[in-house]
């Protein structure tokens, strides 16, 4: 008990000391000022990220490497969960087969089902809109993916797991989509390095726009716009890939969590 109290007091003191230096002020910290000044500074394109959204341009450009490693942590957490709940597809199929006869009508009442059908479409549309506008408005791949994952969760609650699987969102499809998203992120991050083979110089990992200090021929960077559509270089690609990763990752977790307890008991031979 004494050690608990000591730990408790030490943590509180450290948190309190860490926060006393920060009181609200009129001025920004120099780092924040740099990001706000440069994120869409078309008069000095040396350090710009080509996005009006300072948070997204930090997340996927200035601090991009940090976010890639964060995606790695996400990958490991999901893979760990799937490994804890591993089973063969054939076993699940034989279990479903054995339960088919005693199955009654599934899901909640008609009202809930109709409302869920409506909100399912709205949630998916909203999440896609947020993912595609991540470099222009608040939001991005993470937020859009988390919003998308609510839709299968609702469908599992209102209908059943089989309803979601009839949509094509089975365990293996989710794993495949998630892997595609992760590979896309890795590829986009490595394209500048791969361009060394074409003779470009002055490149670095997760490069978005060309840098003026590179020797000629310098890396041309990713397209900032395509006709009237603003793309902001790598940012939209990263956002869409991250959307696929997060959305299918959480859907996968919800599908695994909705498997019946009886199935796992039979799987473990109890």
């Amino acid at each position: 008990m004494a050690s608990t109290i000591v730990l408790f007091v030490l943590t509180l003191v450290s948190v309190a000391l860490g926060a006393t230096a920060f009181t609200p002020s009129l001025d920004l910290r120099p780092l924040a000022e740099f990001y706000l000044e440069n994120c869409l500074n078309q008069f000095n394109k040396d350090l710009w990220a080509a996005s009006p959204e300072a948070v997204t341009s930090m997340l996927w450009d200035y601090r991009g490497l940090d976010t890639v490693y964060e995606t790695t942590v996400f990958f490991l957490a999901i893979i760990g969960s799937v490994a804890a709940f591993r089973f063969g597809e054939a076993f699940l199929r034989s279990y479903e087969e054995s339960k088919r006869k005693q199955r009654r009508e599934e899901g909640l009442s008609l009202i809930v089902k109709v409302i869920t059908r409506l909100t399912f479409v709205l949630i998916v549309a909203l999440s896609i809109a947020i993912a595609l506008h991540g470099h222009l408005t608040p939001g991005g791949g993470f937020q859009a993916g988390s919003i998308f994952a609510v839709a299968p969760l609702l469908a599992i609650a209102a209908f059943s797991r089989r309803f979601v699987e009839e949509f094509g969102l089975t365990k293996n499809t989710c794993l495949a989509i998630r892997t595609t998203g992760l590979i896309t992120i890795a590829l986009i991050a490595l394209i500048p390095l791969l361009s060394i083979a074409l003779g470009f110089t002055g490149v670095f990992i997760i490069q978005n726009q060309p840098k003026p200090w590179a020797l000629q021929p310098s890396f041309p960077g990713f397209p900032v716009y395509l006709g009237p559509i603003w793309l902001a270089g790598t940012l939209i690609l990263f956002n869409v890939a991250e959307f696929l990763t997060v959305a299918s990752g959480f859907t996968l977790l919800f599908i695994l969590l909705s498997l019946p307890e009886d199935f796992f008991r039979r799987l473990m031979g109890k």
Partner: protein, 131 residues
């Protein structure tokens, strides 16, 4: 610039966050049930995120850190820099939220598996089951 009311509100908010931190640390350290530890851990993480957003606030800031035009003039950028809140804590927090969600999911999966194997989530009883 800071009125007395503003400073009182600042201290109040600070105190509330510290109180929630202390309650959640108590939950993680003292409570013996793993599910309650996980709940306390998520509260701790969310409080830390709120705290980071809290210290990123800037007096007199009126806009979020997003430019509203794709073709800003130098005066637009100057106004933006002088009126936007600090984007750095927001960027750190969005990273932390996703990691927190993924780690919570992993913890829940592991504790469900532990419950299936041992039929208990009480740490004292789990530690007794060796081998």
């Amino acid at each position: 610039m800071t009125s007395i009311l503003g400073q009182i509100l600042w201290l109040y908010m600070y105190g509330v966050l510290l109180a929630i931190v202390s309650i959640s640390i108590y939950g993680v350290v003292v409570r013996p049930h793993i599910l309650k530890k996980i709940i306390a851990l998520t509260i701790l993480a969310d409080t830390a995120n709120t705290f980071m957003i809290f210290i990123g606030y800037r007096l007199g800031a009126t806009v979020p850190p997003i430019l509203t035009t794709l073709n800003p003039s130098p005066s637009d950028i100057a106004t933006f820099v002088s009126s936007a809140v600090d984007p750095v804590p927001q960027c750190l927090v969005i990273t932390a939220i996703v990691i927190n969600m993924a780690v919570t999911a992993l913890l829940i999966f592991l504790s469900i598996q532990a419950y299936r194997l041992y039929r208990t989530l009480h740490v004292k009883e789990l530690s007794r089951l060796r081998g």
